[in-house]
Symmetry: C2
Subunit: 366 residues, 2 copies
């Protein structure tokens, strides 16, 4: 028997119903970009070969989604270990099913050299300042307006993200909202630096003079003080779109933080929401997305059951070792391409391999 | 017998076929913004109470489309005579049929305070410099990429514009491409300043060292030298989208210039293109859209047959006197809302009146 391509992780009945709704609709993927000074704290993020390169990872990811290659940097983004960005997987899924995508800049230092929606947000500061993202209210409102417009297109929205250091800011927001998330957020590194992340998040709350749970009813204030631009934008997009259409939050534990924001801002939006991620993220023993989500709401979690263990590329086989695992909406995009049964996980792997080989051999040219 | 709400102006058979195709599809309106220093030449543009205010008209129009009111200025844009922006009509049409819209900034000095797609283009210079829009190649390519993505949504694209002084830059591009357009471009003023426009366009060609028709085979170069950011962006969007879906160029004689660009860049795109405008523009004795289009290609021209003569508002009745007439995709948006027969021109007028009255009485608040 062939293994399932899409896994239903929590509340399987609701998850299957959600998947059935999506199967008859057309997806639009929005990838939300942001950068923060938090990501430059040494050893906190692997989304870039070194801390200063993290500013280039989101625009480069956006360029990969639209062009198949980067413009703002010469090589595709890799972790310090040399493992390639999950944007490769997302791009492959988009191409396989001709899925449209729209880049949304929540707030980045470096802008992508492709068309993108501007939400008029500034990049995020170091959360240890307690003034992480003072544009959060504006970013949320603009994203909500965009989500409302996009929802009129019908179909459904897959919302991915690219923001280095995003799990640390997510942790701080989860704590400010009273969710027990210490030791539960994921990492793109092989060894999850939980101690460092917790220390950074706790310092952020301390500087902002917030007790854990103190901003439970003030979600946007939590983002302003200890969050990041992407959290505000993804929450806004989802709140704006769920009035008309289903929304898949495509990502890992960061989407847990988004879920907690939405649950505070507009609880009935949760009826139209699922989280879409990868099997690697679900199987990760160093993080606990299910444990975070369980504290917030009973929304379905779907996971793309990819198996890269037979890949010819070291960089892709590394995903099976729990490195990178998710990002740039990879899990959600793959779910969107597989959900009506025409594309299998084997086809996805074959095409990701071809794409990766071309990028490596062609010096980033496709 | 009730008069027709949509007029088929040229090649009626092709026009009716095009309308039939649109009727079974869902529209997405993109409004392309730009500003130029050309618009600040005294008496050339009426898209703003005075020349310096022309920089605020496109962002304010964008805000009206998404919010129903302006943010970047206190009052809605008016002509020096006090006649309100056609964005009112466009917004009303969008609301009546729940049509989604996406703001695209081709190159503006002032950015709208709502979400917009950034094409990384700079605002246009005074065309008399002969270096009107050096970003044209980049703007075109980025717009094309966006058009390709939007075309995957299915439906059809209505592309409107807001760029003060746009008919003068359009005239210069038409001349550079060898189209006889002198005395044929329209104006938002009651008296069309043809002599001034022709003088400006001829000076532009002279400074750029271009004979009339000399850039017939170099359309993007014509835009770079004597055009504007919006011409490059609308052409790019249309070329990108027409591979998959029908496109309505929503505007007046500026769309004639766009058509001439597309005809040079990708002639077979014309199969998927119509011009959508207003009856006021067609009836205008001081301009000749049909005469411009006839020199380029046999594409259908559709016109929204609006009658504001019974309006209670002086500002709206002025449209019947040939003031403003078109802009911000008004004609195309109204066609999109009337094309499947559910909304009549009477309903459009009634709703435009209500919208306008609320804006005037509510001090721009809705």
């Amino acid at each position: 028997m062939k293994k399932a391509d899409v896994l239903f992780v929590s509340n399987k009945t609701k998850g299957r119903q959600f998947a059935k709704r999506l199967a008859s609709r057309n997806p639009l993927l929005t990838c939300v970009l942001g950068t923060t000074e938090t990501a430059k704290i040494p050893r906190i993020s692997a989304a870039g070969k070194n801390p200063n390169l993290t500013d280039y990872t989101p625009p480069a990811d956006a360029e990969i989604l639209l062009l198949g290659r980067c413009r703002c940097i010469k090589q595709i983004p890799v972790t310090p270990e040399g493992i390639p960005t999950p944007a490769l997987i997302t791009r492959t899924a988009l191409q396989l099913s001709n899925i449209p995508s729209l880049i949304v800049d929540a707030g980045s230092r470096i802008k992508p050299m492709v068309p993108f929606v501007n939400l008029n947000g500034n990049y995020g500061e170091d959360i240890r300042s307690g003034k992480a993202c003072e544009d959060a209210p504006k970013i949320f409102q603009n994203a909500k307006m965009l989500g409302e417009q996009l929802s009129k297109l019908g179909g459904y929205l897959v919302i991915g993200e690219s923001i280095p250091g995003g799990t640390s800011t997510a942790l701080a927001v989860l704590l400010a909202l009273g969710i027990d998330a210490i030791g539960k957020v994921s990492s793109s590194m092989s060894i999850n630096p939980h101690r460092l992340k917790t220390e950074v998040a706790k310092t952020a709350l301390k500087t902002a003079k917030i007790e854990r749970g103190q901003l439970s009813e003030k979600p946007i204030e939590a983002v302003s003080k200890v969050g990041d631009p992407v959290l505000a934008a993804v929450a806004g997009l989802a709140v704006g779109a769920t009035g008309n259409i289903p929304v898949m939050l495509a990502g890992g534990t960061q989407m847990g933080a988004v879920l907690s924001l939405i649950q505070r801002i507009k609880p009935n939006a949760l009826e139209n929401i699922a989280i879409g991620t990868t099997g690697w993220l679900i199987e990760d023993s160093t993080s606990d997305l299910v444990g975070i989500v369980r504290q917030i709401a009973d929304v379905p979690i779907l996971a793309a059951n990819l198996d890269f263990s037979s890949s010819r590329s070291d960089g892709l086989r590394a995903y099976e070792k729990g490195i990178v695992k998710e990002g740039v909406g990879a899990g959600g995009a793959v779910i969107a391409t597989m959900i009506n049964g025409s594309i299998t996980s084997e086809i996805v792997l074959k095409n990701v391999e071809e794409h990766y080989a071309k990028l490596i051999m062609g010096g980033n040219r496709l």
